[in-house]
């Protein structure tokens, strides 16, 4: 269910697992059948649904020793590497390895040994300055490690870098050596990474003071962890959490050429993008929750203060008898007590109000951040798509995109449906109708790239529609202008559930 189901996906995963266990004769077959059917049609499945299917399937299998009829899908090896079915299998295997370990997953696909080629890399960190490196940089790296081992403070390390490393080697090398060394120290586990970031985050912050530098930092992380996609994503996510990286830098890095090349073959750039957008969004949700609960606290603090004041006033104006004489004011002890509670209640009210104002300011800042984020996201999507989409005059719909051939000759849809086996040139693309077993994937790489990227554009728009809507006008003014490709516009509007005709009114 899109964009958000009533329960977290993990709930449904659990229900399905329980049903498989409870009805072992009937239910697993149903699930298997559904998976097969979805797999068959996966090229037509929405990108967000594909991602969810991958996450669900890998999690599900992890509860059943990864048993599956992998040999049925072994044919994906014959498909081009951008074929959605092949990408699906690769991504499921990647997630399985994360949930268990490499050898285990390899063992689980022994019925289809060829699929081993689709497993993620087995290696560990890619440290350039380890013992195998003979250069001066290894010596620097070793010295840095010693400093850390000796529990040097971040300040000391920054000084050391500024005095010894930076003047000699320049910024780029300094960044590389320091960052990779820190990552290496933190490479043993998630907790090691967090510890390094907490203690030496300042060192990294010093080197990543602007967006360009931050993009360099991310590139180093990507290089160090290139064999482990999970750690790449975790490292970048945590650095953003510690505010060493901004979400804008992450977006810029995701849309750098190295990643753009993978948009249609790997989930790697998308996972990192999802994490960044999600985190930004979660920050806002957290702030909203805090403000809402602070408001409630404020209302009751205000009421309590008012009540205390009223009690105090009443006591002060009360007439009491002291030694037989009427005196204004209740007995002094009581007055003193009431006065102090009234003061406390007032202080409390003021302090809650101040917290509320502070949170409101934080929320305003966060809302600005997310607006900037979405603008940047859309601008990037738009510009990379504009470079690669075939001209709008030739290809205006997704169907046309799918049927346009690799050598950029437009193919009329009607010709396709009455297709004969050999076309004019007798080339393999005459099988455009597609065989039932799906062992041929007809869509060219460029077209697939466009389809996938458009799919993600739509998925992001839909996922965060509620946050994007307030900025739709700005979006239209700056990004979705008249000359933007119709497919881009359609993807965005479909995601936002905005009728396209709305644009042409007036």
């Amino acid at each position: 269910m899109l964009p958000e189901p009533p329960f977290k996906p993990i709930y449904y995963t659990l229900v399905i697992i329980d049903l498989c266990k409870a009805l072992p004769g009937a239910f697993p077959a149903v699930v298997a059948g559904a998976v097969r059917a979805l797999f068959e049609k996966i090229a037509d499945l929405d990108m967000e649904c594909r991602t969810r299917l991958i996450l669900w399937f890998s999690h599900h299998l992890s509860n059943f020793q990864f048993i599956w009829h992998w040999e049925e899908w072994a044919y994906v090896l014959d498909l081009p590497k951008w074929a959605p079915q092949r990408v699906f299998v690769r991504e499921v295997l990647e997630r399985e390895v994360r949930l268990s370990y490499w050898e285990k997953v390899k063992q689980s696909i022994e019925n289809a040994p060829g699929l081993e080629g689709l497993l993620p890399p087995k290696g560990g960190p890619n440290f350039e300055f380890g013992a195998q490196d003979n250069s001066e940089r290894h010596a620097l790296s070793a010295e840095l490690k010693n400093l850390v081992k000796g529990r040097a403070a971040a300040r000391e390390i920054i000084l050391w870098i500024e005095e010894n490393v930076f003047p000699v080697h320049g910024f780029e090398v300094t960044l590389k050596v320091v960052l990779q060394t820190l990552l290496d120290i933190g490479s043993k586990s998630f907790t090691h990474l967090i510890t390094v970031l907490e203690r030496y985050g300042q060192v990294i912050a010093k080197m990543s003071s602007d967006q360009d530098k931050q993009v360099m930092v991310i590139a180093e992380v990507g290089s160090y962890w290139k064999n482990n996609l999970q750690m790449t994503a975790i490292a970048i996510d945590r650095m953003m959490g510690y505010r060493l990286l901004s979400n804008l830098s992450i977006v810029r890095w995701v849309f750098s050429s190295e990643n753009i090349e993978q948009f249609h073959t790997s989930d790697r750039p998308w996972e990192i993008l999802r994490n960044a957008v999600n985190k930004t969004y979660n920050r806002i949700c957290d702030l909203r929750k805090e403000i809402s609960s602070l408001k409630k606290t404020f209302v009751s603090a205000e009421a309590a203060a008012a009540k205390a004041k009223a009690e105090l006033d009443a006591a002060e104006t009360k007439l009491t008898l002291v030694d037989g004489e009427p005196v204004l004011g209740d007995n002094p002890t009581k007055l003193k007590r009431l006065k102090s509670s009234a003061e406390k209640a007032k202080e409390e009210e003021v302090s809650v109000q101040e917290s509320l104002e502070a949170k409101d300011a934080l929320l305003a800042r966060a809302l600005d951040e997310i607006e900037a984020l979405f603008l940047s996201l859309y601008k990037n999507f738009s510009s990379v798509l504009m470079e690669r989409l075939p001209e709008a005059s030739r290809v205006g719909t997704l169907q046309e995109l799918k049927s346009s051939s690799a050598d950029a000759m437009a193919v009329d849809l009607e010709e396709l449906s009455t297709m004969e086996v050999d076309d004019e040139n007798g080339r393999p693309k005459s099988q455009l109708n597609g065989r039932k077993t799906g062992s041929v994937y007809n869509i060219g790489e460029k077209e697939q790239w466009c389809l996938s990227t458009l799919g993600y554009l739509k998925a992001f728009s839909r996922q965060y529609a509620s946050e994007i809507w307030p900025h739709v006008e700005k979006l239209e003014a700056e990004v979705l202008t008249e000359n933007v490709h119709p497919l881009i516009r359609k993807a965005v509007y479909c995601g936002l559930r905005r009728p396209i005709s709305a644009v042409y009114v007036g």
Binding site: L14, V15, P28, N63, F64, L99, I185, M231, D286
Partner: protein, 213 residues
């Protein structure tokens, strides 16, 4: 459906280990009953006595205070893990319930290697709740794990309390023996060695770190 699950689990409370089962012919068919978990906490306002059957002996306070701590907790305790299960595996699985703040592995006091339990800290109570509800009893790294609310992390609770250094439930040779045999090819993460050895993470109790710092 969920109610059935509670009833089923309520009936079978036992905490013994099972070596990983050899599953048979039928895909995903189980030949024997799945291994158990303590009763689930469905809602935050539910009966606190159902929050956890486990009562930590070292909790400094009354039963009532214990239950209060559990109700507010954003920390889960995870038990019956393989010694070889890594933080990354825990991260991948438990991220599905929500954004993880921190992971603290339970370590053998002597060898400083994992000994079968860990703590996961979330940012939100809702995510914590979901982790207990939806992950407990399911499989992590081929073992059915148990997920419970925890009353709060303090320095020292990451060490196993058994006399040999591991967990109390592993006392006696059998548990370790079986595990070592089955997992002979995997490697244990050593938390004692390396540059960060002196930096073992310490978290102040009920730390209120938010997602943005």
């Amino acid at each position: 459906m969920v109610e059935d699950r509670i009833v089923e689990y309520n009936k079978k409370i036992a905490r013994h280990q099972n070596p990983p089962q050899k599953f048979q012919f039928r895909i995903w068919g189980f030949s024997s009953e799945p291994v158990l978990t303590p009763p689930l906490a469905l809602h935050q306002d539910q009966d606190p006595s159902k929050l956890s059957v486990y009562r930590d002996r070292r909790f400094p306070g009354s039963q009532e205070e214990f239950e209060q701590a559990l109700l507010a907790s954003t920390i889960v305790y995870i038990g019956n893990m393989s010694f070889y299960t890594t933080e990354e595996q825990v991260y991948e699985l438990f991220s599905r319930a929500g954004e993880i703040k921190k992971i603290i592995m339970g370590l053998d006091k002597n060898s400083k290697t994992p000994c079968g339990f860990c703590f996961v800290l979330y940012y939100s109570r809702e995510d914590t709740d979901d982790a207990v509800k939806y992950i407990s009893g399911t499989i992590l790294d081929d073992r059915p794990i148990r997920v419970d609310f925890d009353w709060g992390f303090q320095e020292g609770r990451q060490w196993g309390r058994g006399r040999s250094g591991g967990q109390v439930r592993d006392e006696g040779g059998y548990g370790k023996l079986v595990q070592r045999e089955l997992e002979a090819q995997r490697q244990l993460v050593d938390y004692g060695a390396g540059s960060l050895g002196s930096f073992l993470p310490v978290m102040p109790p009920h730390c209120k770190l938010q997602r943005s710092l």
